[in-house]
Symmetry: C2
Subunit: 436 residues, 2 copies
Amino acid sequence: MNIVIKNGVVITMDSTKSIFEKGMVLIENDTITYAGKEITSLIPQDAKIIDAENGIIMPGMINTHTHIGMSLFRTLADDTSDRLKKYLFPLEGKFVTPELVYWASLYSLIEMIEGGTTTIADMYYFEDKVADAAIKAGIRGILGESILNFPAPDTKAPYGGFAYTEKFLKSYSNHPLITPALAPHAPYSLDFENLKKTANLAEEWDIPILSHLAEMPFEMKQIAEEYGMSPVELYSETGLLSTRMTAAHCIYVDDKDMNLLKTSGTGVAHNVAANLKGGKGVSPALKMFDMGIPIGIGTDGPMSGNTMDLVNLLGYTAKIHKMDNKDRTVMPPQKVVEMATIGGARALHIEDKTGTLEKGKKADVIIVSTESTVMFPIYDYYSALVYCASPRDVDTVIINGELIMENREIKTYSKKETRAEAEKIVAKIKKGLKDF
Amino acid sequence: MNIVIKNGVVITMDSTKSIFEKGMVLIENDTITYAGKEITSLIPQDAKIIDAENGIIMPGMINTHTHIGMSLFRTLADDTSDRLKKYLFPLEGKFVTPELVYWASLYSLIEMIEGGTTTIADMYYFEDKVADAAIKAGIRGILGESILNFPAPDTKAPYGGFAYTEKFLKSYSNHPLITPALAPHAPYSLDFENLKKTANLAEEWDIPILSHLAEMPFEMKQIAEEYGMSPVELYSETGLLSTRMTAAHCIYVDDKDMNLLKTSGTGVAHNVAANLKGGKGVSPALKMFDMGIPIGIGTDGPMSGNTMDLVNLLGYTAKIHKMDNKDRTVMPPQKVVEMATIGGARALHIEDKTGTLEKGKKADVIIVSTESTVMFPIYDYYSALVYCASPRDVDTVIINGELIMENREIKTYSKKETRAEAEKIVAKIKKGLKDF
């Protein structure tokens, strides 16, 4: 299908940050064939015409780190100390099944799509169920089965994630939307040999790697004691830092670490709000961005964030780094929108495919309406997006040339049915929590 | 009119933080006469019944510091350094007229009401126009004309705000919604004698005081040089600290300052997101709250915030203080909701009137829908409000017993007409900016 989006402001996020006030985007099949000022003569006769109604036409946003299978646990034990080990791992051991992961993922994807996200990088358990949900929803995904040194919901044996990944890889290779990845959980949850094994397998299988890195105070202490180095140095030693890797968090990184990330071409996922909520620090994301490290924004999982759209995170990203640097001029809105779009694509090493509105890119395009109260007046489009917009201003979402949401209605699957199924599972969890 | 709200979860925010899962609120004229579990026999025959549809019924939120007359400048020069003196004051000198203040205020109040705010504390110029807008919208307001040592849009003479306030006070005394206040702008924009004069007039006229305090790095330096004390000490010396005062910001306060605030009963407005965006620090709001200083949340003006709802600020308030304290267990959601409701009422010294759902309080009540994607699942109502809700989940707003918004439709005035008038003014500003 050919689609033309017109009557809106086109924010391209290309290298010159071109904006076209009366712009037009032309999509043929899965690809953008034109993005620029409106030229009526370019419109194919058979194209579906989408009227942006003075909205903002921009690249779909890229969520560089999440765990969408967790949404049915949202608002549980938000403020518990030492939550990961004392609460989350046991909770997952008790409740996580393939069925839960499928419906939780499908439910999460409603929020992702409604919030203008067109690509996600996800790591969890039963990742084939996440893939099934992503395919049903029609979202682009880099998806990895978590690999850990202890039994997980998907495997009785430690390191069972390797076998799972191999199987997963075979089932979903060459899918236009899905890219299977290796997902070593974290420096503290795999031993040295298995971290190395992951790096080698990624080369052998030619796939990306997703991991948590330099996120937890206990992680910093444990890795220093065990290896006498930082988590980033450990990942460098084991061969994990490369243009295959997207490392989530990188809160506790020093200049040496950042240089290792830069020289290796490693991508970074900046989970700004989740890190705040976890009582952790502010990652030096601005410095990493300015150094040229490929960096994007991530929501983290719905128990961490707790929302899963990137629009809310635009404001957080701008404001936190202004505060952290005691300077209102740093991290201006254009830089934030860059991080949420092409920056995310760079962090996931798919910048040749998505992240901007340019001829030849895959057609991942959203329209942000300017009708709502907060979206007026607009003297600066980037400011309006970053400081004012709500995820509910996202009106239309196109992924890989497919119209996924139009006028806030998701077209690929039933929101109502998904919520009904999710409600059944939540009722079971509520019962089960009584003796948890 | 009598109103009954039923079929929802009643979050009272009373002293024991009672929650009623299947709750009911009864309103007779302007007053709450019952808030508790549903008792059908209590429902008066002639009452209008509002079905909360499993939503959250809670006290209206209280915005303790804002400048609603500024909304038509939103997204202008967001990231300019030294913005107040170099940009804002000149901008206001050129463009601010009574007409602009009226329409900007009325436009801002759409967002306030849509976001569940039922009381605002506002200080700006032409505050009688703000009052007219507040009365038209039907919102509760403590409103003060800014008093400064230099000519302002509303007065050619320095300190013209005093005469303006006296006139304003006469016109709007005894209004059920409007409380005129004195609004000395800041420690750096009034001299010692006029700060003292403000304190004395507040006593004489028996009205509240609104002011900025301990907000700006240059303010800290200037007051130290001029007086050899902190801004809070200066306000103490001039008699301004009292149970009449609500001091906005209080970012740069030490233990001595906080003790002065506490012993005087001064209220504090915590403008969490505006302070971040301004590249300032994190105020010790949590410490002040725990010390028993009356403290609420404020949006600051739409050039600072830039949004004017409190729902977005719930998440910021929780997360920033967790980060600042490096502890995910502090500033839990219940405390945040307290700050946004009864905490705000305490900060404005109107806790006998509003801020909770209790018999005898004025009926300022909102319903937050749980239908949207982010509002599911809910294991903890406070968590859902603070970490998940969007202002657009607010469904119904009642202020002083009047139904102001029902099913997201504002009933007191036309949103469309207000935007059309605002658009005309913005077109003029855009023209005028060319030679600014």
